[in-house]
């Protein structure tokens, strides 16, 4: 059995709109190993959610998608759509940003948790219910058995997200995707959910993709980090390495733009000039070039290719940060 669980290669996604094609993904490779927690970070429009949805087989209406998704050695593009849907439903779980929206308001949560297990794994309703009770207690919902009958609106925001996590786990998947799973939550609840996800990943040997706009969320909880900008992964590598020694100018600038809770008051933030790119008006070259302090004329004609400056790391930049000289020290 290979160490690699998921391999995405050359993923592209173009969405036709009235203003022209939006290139939501411009050729992305991503590898997730068994048990690995990958952070996928980027600002709005970076393509991180599109990538997550592409992996689970969801797409915007009319979107044109290409690239290969190989899950545990099986190429999901080469099998029938129904088969691929079944494999995905069974082996990948996904948790969305807003639990209120991700849960059907008029169906009891018990049914929502069990339906996929009944359908994908062919177990009986009773078995599925028993499992659901177990799952709900695992994700920290007290009195789980009696709450199966309840509807989403009868739960608080934090509990609701726990319910969607239980749903995602109902088929005992190998990969869990948390797409901005804590963004809509208060900071104390976010902490609870992040702790829960970390614990579940460990206990169940889950591989996990944590998608977030917030570097802080990714920092302490992932093995590897991929930074996205303008529809491509600009930099990836072991989380500590990426944070300590960012090589892409965007990663570095992003880290400096974050207000730090341990900085003295009124310390000036290093802002990135300009605005995130308009994906329908992307130029030919590096999408970050217009805002980049290191940009040179050669950044513009062609998107930088993927390079491997050191083992385990990828970079798409012609003029990387001299990261080793500039390395930040751990406190």
């Amino acid at each position: 059995m290979s160490d690699v669980l998921l391999e995405v290669t050359g993923a592209r996604c173009e969405i036709p709109t009235a203003r022209g094609d939006v290139i939501a993904l411009g050729g992305v490779d991503l590898t997730v190993r068994r048990g690995e927690i990958v952070g996928l970070v980027g600002e709005s429009g970076s393509g991180k959610s599109t990538l997550a949805k592409l992996i689970v087989g969801a797409k915007a209406p009319g979107a044109r998608i290409s690239g290969r998704v190989v899950l545990d050695g099986e190429d999901l593009e080469s099998v029938k759509p129904e088969t691929a849907r079944g494999i995905r439903g069974r082996r990948i779980g996904i948790v969305f940003q807003d639990p209120m929206m991700a849960l059907n308001p008029v169906v009891p949560i018990g049914r929502q948790i069990t339906e996929a297990a009944v359908h994908n794994r062919g177990i009986t309703r009773e078995q599925a219910r028993a499992e659901a009770v177990e799952l709900l207690s695992q994700v920290g919902i007290p009195d789980a058995a009696s709450r199966l009958r309840h509807y989403p609106h009868q739960f608080s925001g934090g509990l609701r997200q726990r319910v969607t996590i239980a749903m995602a786990l109902a088929c005992d998947p190998d990969l869990l995707i948390a797409d901005e799973a804590t963004t809509a939550l208060d900071v104390t609840v976010q902490r609870q959910i992040l702790d829960l996800l970390s614990r579940l990943a460990l206990e169940r040997s889950l591989a996990m993709i944590m998608v977030s706009h917030d570097l802080s969320v990714i920092a302490g909880r992932t093995h590897t980090t991929a930074v996205m900008y303008g529809g491509i992964i600009v930099e990836s590598g072991p989380t500590a390495a990426v944070f300590d020694a960012p090589q892409h100018p965007y990663t570095k600038a992003l880290l400096e733009a974050i207000p730090r809770i341990d900085a003295p008051p009124h310390s000036r933030l290093t802002a990135i000039p300009g605005n995130p790119p308009d994906l329908s008006r992307l130029g030919t070259g590096c999408p970050f070039a217009a805002r980049c302090a290191n940009a040179q004329p050669d950044c513009l004609p062609v998107v930088p290719p993927v390079t491997h400056p050191v083992a385990d790391r990828t970079l798409r930049c012609y003029h990387p940060v001299d990261s080793f000289a500039d390395a930040r020290k751990a406190p």
Binding site: G57, G86, F96, E115, H119, N120, L185
Partner: protein, 336 residues
């Protein structure tokens, strides 16, 4: 994006606690509402007949009647009294269940209404059920295959039927199902007492005419609601969890998409109840519509008021049913 959504989540968390009091208040409020509606519409019914030309007496006695005879008859029925006094007298009797006697036919109004109601009720209920039975599967299927050939054909048909008045539909159906094929009778009515098959045989074409008139509105509404539900996150969640399309449509999409359909269907029910005049007269059905059609020009005031009361009460009842249905369909509406 963040705070706004959190705010929404928080608001939806807040549930009322004092349910009994709330429910009592809402029942009391509804009863009060019913009374107010009834008073207003029956008063308007009385006043409207005042505004129409001619008097009941001149219509009863015919064009040859002398002015004295008309005055005498008006006095006998109390039509020389001021509007308010006349209304109060009527109201007093109505409270005891006496809606008076028809000026036209001399029959007790309550008796006539009870005789007519089953016909119209059957017509309305069946028409509504049939139109929903056509609209719901068609709308769900079309919405799930937006812009497909099926969608375009059915949506075109719906627009077509919407722009054709119901009497034209009726005439067409009569020709096709009655005159040309002789499958169904072209007019008339068989009460349930003459057998269900016979009854349905007579009622089918009028019901179909009404249903074809009603289904476009249902179809279009449900189709667009289903399309927007299909864009909801929870549908996407179910899809990526590997649930089959049909299951998702049945289990996850239909119910949350049907709230406005229920409201519109209820309004349609009320409208059909008093408004199937065209179909009732085309098919010669002894229902409330044809009764109203006779009573209004004849200035049969007791009958008009009786119809108004009946329709108003039905409207209020329907609203109660709709509320109950909402609670059934949407657990968020339930007062725990």
């Amino acid at each position: 994006m963040t705070v706004l959504q959190r705010e929404r989540a928080r608001v939806s968390n807040i549930r009322p606690r004092s349910h009994t009091l709330h429910r009592l208040r809402s029942i009391g409020g509804r009863a009060l509402h019913l009374v107010a509606v009834l008073v207003l519409v029956t008063l308007a019914g009385t006043a409207l007949t005042d505004l129409m030309p001619g008097s009941p007496a001149s219509i009863i006695l015919g064009p040859t009647a002398s002015d004295e005879a008309i005055a005498a008859l008006n006095a006998e029925y109390g039509y020389d009294q001021p509007l308010l006094l006349r209304y109060l007298q009527w109201l007093g009797n109505a409270i005891t269940g006496d809606l008076g006697v028809s000026i036209q036919s001399n029959q007790p109004v309550v008796e006539v209404l009870l005789q007519r109601l089953p016909v119209t009720l059957e017509l309305t209920v069946l028409a509504l059920l049939l139109s929903l039975a056509i609209a719901i599967p068609a709308a769900v299927y079309a919405a799930s295959r937006e812009n497909s050939m099926f969608d375009r054909i059915v949506s075109g048909l719906a627009s077509g039927f919407m722009s054709v008045p119901v009497f034209v539909i009726g005439v067409l159906l009569v020709y096709v199902l009655g005159v040309a094929t002789r499958w169904f009778p072209v007019a008339g009515w068989a009460p349930l007492s003459s057998g269900l098959a016979e009854n349905l045989h007579f009622v089918f074409v009028p019901v179909l005419a009404l249903a074809l008139g009603e289904f476009p509105a249902f179809y279009r509404l449900l189709r667009s609601d289903v399309i927007s539900t299909l864009r909801e996150d929870f549908v996407q969640t179910a899809t990526v969890r590997g649930m089959p399309r049909g299951y998702i449509l049945r289990r996850h999409v239909l119910r949350p998409s049907s709230f406005s359909l229920i409201t519109v269907a209820a309004v349609a029910f009320g409208r059909l109840l008093a408004g199937s005049v065209v179909v009732e007269s085309l098919f010669a059905l002894p229902g409330l519509g044809s009764l109203a059609l006779q009573s209004i020009p004849a200035k049969d005031i007791p009958m008009i008021q009786g119809i108004v009361v009946l329709v108003a009460v039905t409207y209020v009842l329907i609203n109660a049913v709709v509320d109950a249905t909402y609670a059934l369909l949407d657990p968020r509406m339930r007062r725990i």
